[in-house]
């Protein structure tokens, strides 16, 4: 991708709708069969012993511990925050997770509960999960969350506009959201389950990166399919190629449906071999998950003691 992009001023490609469309549809296509085969090939890597221990701790430190339910209460969020700081109270060598992720109205609760702990507070905003609200409403949603103390904003793109080919509209909404975020980090949720093709995933990834998203994120978790290995593969290729073109490092967050340590480790292998080991850091790769953390803790304990704990030995929050 380097030579197609080298010498190209990326500001030019967002000049108008036509230029943006030309750029996005000029990106190399993704052969779905080939992408699936590559993802399946990487999944055969066998990660054992010391490598597994490293991967589990790294994965824990990359979790955005999430609760996004209509039934969320301050009590639920406080208990989530306690777990985020000390995922395993019986073993304080366990790393903290990267962030807790909540709805905007619960940001304040989360900030209070975390105190000064080194865990970020992420909030979904922009009329999550559908994104079907007028732009001013979405931006107000973002500003409220940031004002309440959120340090990371997970926005959703307008998939309707994207699928209708109104790329510039999607771009401008992301730019406006970026501005509304101020110093908060922006994660742009592509909702790849609704974009359907891997070509669209690549185009949406580039669109979000061009518009200034700090992270591209696969899914809201409210749609099936959510994160899949081929989707993550294409997103990781996008941040890799974007870095090669602009020398800027942007992150990837996979979210939705990742429950087993084995799956998380497979994603880390993919990060390592597709994007590169620079991305093996919570500042550049995250898992949006809730039940994954407990499985990581069970596996961690198994590696240390040789025995599996029952599900009753990890906390349910």
């Amino acid at each position: 991708m380097s030579s197609t992009l080298s010498g190209l001023d990326l500001r030019d490609v967002t000049r108008d709708d036509a230029a943006l469309r030309r750029f996005l549809s000029g990106l190399p296509g993704v052969d779905q069969v080939g992408a699936e085969a590559r993802a399946a090939g990487l999944a055969t890597r066998s990660i054992k012993t010391t490598a597994k221990a490293w991967a589990i701790d790294t994965a824990i430190s990359m979790v955005d511990l999430t609760t996004l339910e209509g039934a969320d209460t301050p009590g639920k969020v406080r208990s989530l925050c306690a777990k985020a700081v000390h995922p395993d109270p019986s073993d304080l060598t366990t790393p903290s997770v990267a962030a807790v992720c909540v709805y905007p109205d619960l940001v304040e609760t989360a900030v209070d509960a975390l105190g000064g702990a080194p865990v970020q507070v992420a909030s979904v905003a922009t009329a999550f999960p559908s994104g079907r609200a007028p732009l001013p409403t979405k931006l107000a949603d973002v500003r409220d969350a940031v004002a309440a103390g959120a340090t990371e904003i997970d926005m959703v793109i307008d998939r309707g506009a994207f699928l209708a080919g109104r790329y510039l509209q999607v771009y401008e909404e992301i730019v406006a959201t970026r501005e509304a975020c101020g110093v908060a980090h922006l994660k742009v949720i592509l909702e790849t389950g609704e974009l359907a093709t891997l070509d669209n995933v690549r185009r949406a990834s580039w669109l979000a990166l061009l518009a200034g998203g700090d992270f591209i994120k696969s899914s809201t978790g409210k749609i099936t399919p959510a994160a899949t290995p081929p989707v993550a593969l294409v997103m990781l290729e996008a941040v890799r190629d974007f870095a090669q073109t602009t020398y800027e490092l942007r992150g990837v967050k996979v979210a939705g449906g990742i429950r087993a340590s084995k799956e998380a480790i497979r994603y880390l292998v993919m990060v390592n071999e597709i994007a590169g080991e620079q991305w093996l850091d919570p500042s550049l790769f995250r898992f949006g998950a809730s039940s994954l953390l407990n499985d990581l803790l069970l596996q961690r304990h198994k590696l240390r003691t040789g025995a599996y704990d029952g599900a009753d030995y990890v906390t349910l929050d």
Binding site: M1, S3, V30, G34, S46, A51, W54, T58
Partner: protein, 476 residues
């Protein structure tokens, strides 16, 4: 040290149930061959694996006689639906012993366990399953109302896919009612001899399949034996030509699957990330010991820098080392002789002015190893663009137009396979029609299926293996 350092994940060597010595399989019995006893070595560390008592000329005579008796006896008289049961039995037994066979194959051949486990052994079983299904349907296969077996088939196979090649040869021969005398390569006899065990346990009538370990002289003895009705050979073009000369005028039927120098053609509109995977799979799969390997990469000039940069990046993630480690991508070269040939040709490439590149990679001290290598600035006139290297060495050339790509791709005495990478369906069809190659892959490479025929043009041989077409060489 890398941040994410994959710990060794070796498959257990004990799984292979390696024995101290192996005999040959003649007339339903294992016996000590009358030829030399040789040690087969592990190419990854040069340690001897087992002693193999090779066949002598008398063993060849016995094996051909046993195959003749079986053809005129129990196997020849057996209806297709009964033959199918034996083939199904063999297929299931290969699956049941898949792990053992995979480890044994990696020990004897040097290929990574990932490939023997995920490709060689499952495909070998699939070939037996596939041809089992044909055994009772030959009247409907398009070879006339009453197709008949030819008789005794002499089969000589190479060392690059030892068990898989045995399956490619034996399964269609048995499905069509022929009997078999098979010789595996001298450096890789162990899985074929284990297949003999499976065949014995499947209780095929004695003499239906005979497996003789041995070197070129035993291959020659099989080819020359007057009691053989059909020769099937997979191996080098040089030996293939000698066989064709030897059988000329004898009335023996012949099919040959020989060398290749396949063009893998990447257009500027190709899905580039997947094309890079296809390039890597095309030439570095099985250390490039693949007759249909995509050893000549033809890239449209407008994307050459991009493709080379992506290829370099990808090659640095390849893991070379212990073939039994589940994370190994590139294993050992099969023999010292093959390693010498690869070195000779790559040295010639440098002398002729091509630019050589390999990713940083530590080669083990013992064993036969060669780092993945890419030559750029290669011209059609260079030896590395014309001769089959049969190693992990890629020669990169460029083209400007589709017509030039076709011209360069076809400019070889070989014609086994080719690859096309483009997002444009119409271009795939037009290119595929013009490329002189038995197999043309589109947006993939080195993909095999028992239902799909495989074989070459020109000096890559003739006759097809796999699919309905694969029945033809074994039917009169």
């Amino acid at each position: 040290m890398p941040a994410f350092d994959y710990a060794p994940a070796p498959e257990s060597r004990d799984v292979a149930r390696l024995r101290a010595s192996y005999g040959i399989f003649v007339d339903g019995q294992f016996r000590v061959g009358a030829g030399e006893a040789i040690k087969t070595v592990n190419p990854a560390n040069e340690e001897p694996l087992a002693e193999v008592a090779e066949a002598g000329p008398a063993d060849v005579a016995d094996a051909v006689q046993a195959a003749r008796n079986a053809f005129e006896g129990a196997w020849g008289r057996m209806p297709g639906r009964e033959r199918a049961k034996y083939l199904f039995r063999i297929a299931r037994a290969i699956q049941e012993r898949a792990r053992e066979l995979a480890v044994l194959e990696s020990l004897d051949n040097g290929k990574p366990i990932r490939e023997s486990r995920d490709v060689d052994i499952p495909l070998a079983a699939a070939h037996f399953f596939y041809y089992a299904g044909w055994a009772d349907k030959l009247e409907h296969a398009g070879f006339g109302p009453r197709p008949r077996p030819i008789g005794v088939a002499g089969q000589v196979i190479p060392w690059n896919f030892p068990l898989l090649m045995a399956a490619w040869k034996i399964a269609p021969a048995l499905a069509t009612g022929n009997t078999v005398v098979l010789k595996p390569a001298e450096t890789t006899p162990l899985t074929a001899l284990t297949l003999a065990e499976i065949i014995a346990e499947a209780e095929l009538p004695a003499g239906t399949v005979n497996i003789l370990a041995g070197g070129p002289s035993i291959g020659q003895a099989i080819v020359d034996h007057a009691g053989i009705d059909k020769i099937a050979f997979t191996g080098s073009t040089e030996v293939g030509k000698a066989i064709q000369r030897a059988v000329a005028g004898t009335g023996k039927r012949l099919s040959l699957e020989l060398g290749g120098k396949a063009a893998n053609i990447v257009f500027d509109d190709a899905p580039l990330d997947q094309a890079v995977e296809g390039i890597v799979n095309g030439i570095f799969f099985n250390q490039g010991h693949v007759c249909c390997a995509g050893s000549r990469l033809l890239v449209q000039e407008s994307v050459i820098d991009e493709v080379i940069a992506a290829l370099h990046r990808r090659l640095t993630t390849l893991r070379l080392g212990d073939p039994l480690d589940k994370n190994t991508d590139i294993g050992a070269i099969n023999s010292a002789a093959q390693l010498a040939r690869i070195r000779e040709l790559t040295d010639a490439g440098e002398e002729e002015g091509a630019t050589r590149w390999s990713p940083p990679c530590d080669l083990p001290d013992r064993g036969f190893w060669f780092a993945p290598t890419v030559f750029t600035n290669v011209s059609q006139a260079h030896r590395i663009a014309r001769e089959e290297i049969f190693g992990p060495v890629l020669s990169v050339l460029t083209f400007r137009t589709p017509a030039e790509a076709v011209e360069k791709a076809n400019n070889t005495p070989y014609g086994l396979s080719a690859g096309i990478w483009t997002d444009k369906g119409s271009r795939i069809l037009s290119m595929a029609g013009k490329l002189r190659a038995g197999v043309v892959w589109a947006n993939t490479f080195n993909r095999f299926d028992p239902g799909s025929p495989f074989g070459g043009y020109q000096e890559s041989g003739f006759g097809r293996e796999g699919g309905r077409h694969g029945l033809g060489p074994y039917l009169a």
